[in-house]
Symmetry: C2
Subunit: 453 residues, 2 copies
């Protein structure tokens, strides 16, 4: 297979103190990052200077782990800024880098969400993406009068309709709706207003949106679901997909499957970028990288490790099990991420003890973990990229700011040397341009062109 | 009555192109302000340099006037940024000025709103206020599956419970909940976590909020309702009230009424600041001020004036009436602002024609309008302040940026000369400090103090 001509896309997954479960205990981490806006702003500026295509913020509408008996040791990254207000604050201190925030379709209204994302796209000059998720956790459900027992299929049915409404709302005004004709007294062109008029099972929304069409036409649509429902929705609508794989084989299978589904639906598979997550421990040498990894692993508290594992398994009780015994094979599957549960079961099948298991997952909750010199790390990244397991990567530094410093100091120059990433400054202005995604023309403009053709 | 020792508080009511209905047609206005973040940021910086206590953003979750036959001439200020994302973007380019955004309780969830405002208070370092409103207009209702016919009392019952939930969510964590004890592995103090456990008629919310307690303890609570329900809610909970009066007599009656209600509920009436809105045309002389006023009035399109009037009356059809005839006395009252309808009826009783009426209201939708030299304007403001009709004013410049420039150039120096406003730089850091409002201690801390006493 010939070498790919496109470049590898880079996202930076922000997370208060870092992605390693013990990050906040590390001397180099910003332990109170959740209330330090300057911390986030400095990271955003640093990532932009390094040429990352985008930042990414995860989200949950409840405190994950709040019912754990060791929540006071566990929840450091979950008490922080709300993503949409944070994104606006980061947009004003950066000029080029993309900004992606997660927002759930389960407990909000499409009008409110469409509006905030369109507003952010205006504020940032066209650099916004929406990571669409559904919420399955009880901690979130309990904040909205629910029990958290909504079936998987129902959550996705609502999500699909929600996305359709948002998409229509973003087309409320054509690109050139503003006339600003002071003399004639005409502020805008009435022919370029479009009511949404959505009447569906979950939502009735008339529109139009009270924000004009945004610089990107529409914010970039991002998804991460790996279930059957999740893949179907992503294949139909997503422009970026965040994935979590432990092996090139799994990454390739997912990549082929999702691009194939998109193509079968009539989409250009190149307009769907797949970015697996990867957490990287690196340094001036392999030994230095391993020392950094070891230092963090030793900070994992056993009771936190047990809870981490329990949480990733959807809250199953592991408190009676010995840390040095293997995980039982007959644990009940839960409503939580199916792919994460399957990964853990696979590792358990290798005979790992509870302790070995949680240490494997401590780096970034089951994301791919690399420990090594810059050359070793880039060999791996290159293999995934050239092997069509990834169009790029979502980087999850184990700690902030140190883990990001290390990536920029060691890995990025090696990626550049091999021509795998953009060489100079950003070529474009919008997130779509950074990622090579097309501008979504307004349906009325498309119809106009077809009429001419 | 002796002279007041406190100073007059100043808010700046931002509105894309300005508050005059024809503002966007004025050569000095920023007609496309709604998509120019730099415009808003420049205004915020200018207001801070001038020492305003706070900025204020109104809101609506639909396009006001969208069903008007002349919407294309009318809706200039209603297609702009969403207030909470805009506030975050303004927070990062300012350091001291307060930032108040409107958000409705009618179509959102208390957890989402409590969270975004707490996050904004963290981002801004304690400068945020929430203007709590209910939504009665059909344009908004239609975006959320509703008809817009929810009864006034029902809207307020939901609003009251909504506010209670938000208030409890803001107390999820005590001020000093963070321990950050790296050696012991304790991130926070489990005794300082408080579940919300709200089970009411409209909402069931368990909490806790996933944002720590904010620098102000809680964002400042602002309201503007003038109805009986609105006054009751404001007396019980508001810390700032925006009002709309045309005469000192009306302002004083409202002031006495609201402060009296607050006192009757056991509150210190000084902890409720009343700021009537005022739109000011001023210049180097009275003649210059009048010329500026006239210039804008002449830009009012008759069809827009008629629609403005119809809109303020809640959408009543006036299309068959002559502009030079008086307003009929038997117009049906609607679901819209009762105080605005009564004001219009009062003006109509004076025999004003439709044209005269809409020109009276064109300045700022029925807010008090002053046209004159700095001295004439400040005479009026001082009379309202010293006469206990106001604790300060919410300034509504007829155009942006010119109207603000004029206020700063002419009126502000005269206010300073008379010792009516703060002389030097901001003394405090938070909006509460600017306004002389107390820090809301956490209930657990209050209980602790009582136990000691």
């Amino acid at each position: 297979m010939s070498k790919r001509r496109d470049t590898l896309k880079l996202g930076l997954f922000l997370r208060a103190t870092g992605h390693h479960v013990a990050a906040w205990r590390h001397p180099g981490a910003q332990a109170d990052a959740g209330i330090r806006i300057e911390h986030y702003q400095a990271l955003a500026r640093q990532a932009e200077a390094a040429g990352f295509d985008t930042l990414f913020l995860a989200d949950s509408v409840g405190v994950r782990g709040i019912d754990s008996p060791v929540f006071d040791r566990l929840i450091a990254p979950h008490l922080t800024f709300e993503p949409l207000t944070l994104l606006a604050a980061l947009a004003t201190v950066t000029r080029r880098i993309g900004l992606i925030a997660t927002a759930s379709t389960s407990y909000s209204e499409p009008y409110n969400l469409a509006r905030q994302f369109a507003s952010l796209d205006q504020i940032s000059g066209g650099r916004i993406g929406w990571n669409l998720v559904t919420s399955s956790d009880a901690a979130s459900a309990h904040n909205f009068g629910g029990s958290g027992q909504a079936a998987h299929a129902d959550r996705y049915a609502r999500a699909r309709e929600f996305q359709q409404v948002v998409d229509k709302l973003w087309d409320s005004w054509e690109d050139d709706a503003l006339l600003l004709d002071r003399d004639a007294g005409l502020f805008l062109d009435r022919a370029k207003r479009h009511f949404t008029e959505h009447r569906g099972e979950h939502f009735q929304v008339r529109g139009p949106l009270n924000v004009l069409r945004s610089p990107q036409g529409k914010p970039v649509l991002v998804q991460a679901g790996a279930s059957e429902d999740g893949r179907e929705l992503a294949a139909a609508t997503a422009e970026v997909v965040f994935a979590a794989h432990q092996s090139l084989h799994d990454a390739q299978a997912f990549y082929r499957d999702l691009k194939g589904r998109a193509q079968a639906l009539g989409r250009n598979p190149e307009h769907l970028k797949i970015l697996p997550g990867v957490t990287i421990f690196t340094g001036a040498s392999e030994a230095a990288a391993q020392a950094k990894h070891r230092e963090l692993q030793e900070l994992v508290q056993p009771e936190v490790g047990r809870e981490l594992l329990s949480g990733l398994l959807g809250g199953v009780d592991l408190s009676h099990l010995s840390l040095d015994a293997p995980l039982p094979r007959d644990l009940p599957l839960s409503n939580a991420s199916r792919s994460r549960q399957e990964l853990i079961q696979k590792l358990a099948d290798e005979g790992l003890s509870l302790r070995q298991l949680y240490l494997r997952l401590a780096g970034a909750r089951g994301h791919w973990t690399l420990v090594g010199s810059a050359e070793q790390v880039v060999d791996q990244l290159e293999a995934w990229f050239q092997g069509y397991g990834a169009d790029g990567f979502n980087i999850l530094p184990p700690t902030y700011p140190e883990g990001l410093d290390d990536f920029i100091t060691f890995v990025l120059p090696e990626l550049r040397r091999r021509g795998l990433v953009r060489q100079g400054d950003y070529e474009g202005r919008t997130l779509r341009e950074h990622l090579g995604l097309p501008y979504p023309q307004h349906p009325a403009a498309r119809r106009g062109q077809e009429a001419v053709a």
